[in-house]
Amino acid sequence: MDLAERLLQGDKRAVARLISMAENHDPEAVEILKSLFSKTGKAHVIGITGPPGAGKSTLTDKLAKAIRKEGKTVGIIAVDPTSPFTGGSILGDRVRMNDLSTDPGVFIRSMGTRGHLGGLSKATQAAVKILDIYGVDYIFIETVGVGQSEVDIAKNADTTLMVMVPGLGDDIQAIKAGIMEIGDVFAVNKADRDGAKRTAREIDMMLDFNHSDWRPPVQMVIAVDNEGIDELLGHLKDHKKHMEDTGKLQQRRTLNSRLEIIDLVQENLMRMILDKSKKEEMINQLAVDVAVRKTDPYTASESILKEI
């Protein structure tokens, strides 16, 4: 049986192997995704983001358990940064989700960003599709909020959940700087700590400037104690329903598809330019030439483009 068939039959090893192939730019993964793409679009894709240590993984664990109680299935993609220096990474989100490991209705995959600084890679988008084809009802994508990644996660999700914690201080400034528009639902986690109400109020106040017909709810939760989780899940579902009822889900998916197509064109173009080992050599030589002022970067880039 080939991989595509095994995926359709719900074989977890096929899911896992296909995600690896997508991560490793194996062209066969793209061919399989082409043939099965029509089967995607069914899962509720939820992006979870927020500052480091806010409790995103703990919250994902609890939300997944609440979903499992309803008899639905879950896929989780936990993205952590790859070191730009060594190419290595420690992906530690599973630590908070160990009980889910052996649940047949849950599939968890950890991914390194592998060079996509702060952002979601094409491989993450592929992993979402693979889990969607596999047939889970919900897909969570966890990323650390470090600027660009929040924007990126919104490009890939139906619903974006922003996880905040009391006493953010500087982070509130970051929210003001534009991240506020990205959250569809806000969670103030660690509500067992001082200042949770105040943080919730501050977020809510900033949402006054939001003019869309969806007012993002702000839910206080204590992930470690499983408090506020059902309410939070309710908000996530409400958001999806609102998007469906107003036709906005289709709009958002259209916009996201547009961005994905453009990204793929860019990436394929880059590959066409850089993959040819000869051009790699040429670029290396040009880099030396530019550095010693033998030529300039403008002429150098033009001479590479002429080669295509």
């Binding site: 896992a16 290595g88 990474s89 052996t102």
Partner: protein, 132 residues
């Protein structure tokens, strides 16, 4: 191989120390590997599920509790049941020399006892992967 080696670092058994596991996790990361760190008190079943979902090349288990003779072979056995035959399984921690032949016979490829430089483990992994 132009992809990072993926390694699951797990800590089976009931003892509460994961310093050794963290040291090796960091060393493997610094060697350019993708380390999936799963934390303390993993059951063999959890380790095997994670191995499959994460599609790792290597399972590295650190164990101090003394239960190595049951837990490590159990992981190998469950992997076999799942038809996973392309994953390198290694162990480390406080394991008496006398137990090592038994563990190897049970399918643990190599055991690294305390004091082994992390570079030895890294070289071993690179040289013994079962998958290209």
């Amino acid at each position: 191989m132009d992809r990072p080696i993926r390694v699951l670092v797990a800590k089976p058994g009931l003892d509460g120390h994961d310093r050794g596991a963290k040291v090796i996790a960091r060393a493997l990361r610094d060697a350019g590997m993708e380390v999936i760190y799963t934390g303390l008190r993993q059951t063999p079943e959890q380790i095997v599920s994670a191995t499959i979902q994460e599609d790792v090349d290597v399972v590295a288990m650190s164990i101090l509790s003394g239960a190595h003779n049951t837990l490590l072979p159990k992981v190998v056995e469950l992997l076999k049941v799942e038809n996973v035959d392309d994953v390198l399984v290694i162990g480390g921690g406080v394991i008496p020399d006398d137990d090592i032949p038994f563990l190897k016979e049970k399918g643990i490829a190599e055991i690294f006892t305390p004091g082994t430089p992390t570079s030895v483990t890294i070289d071993y992994i690179r040289a013994n992967l079962k998958r290209k």
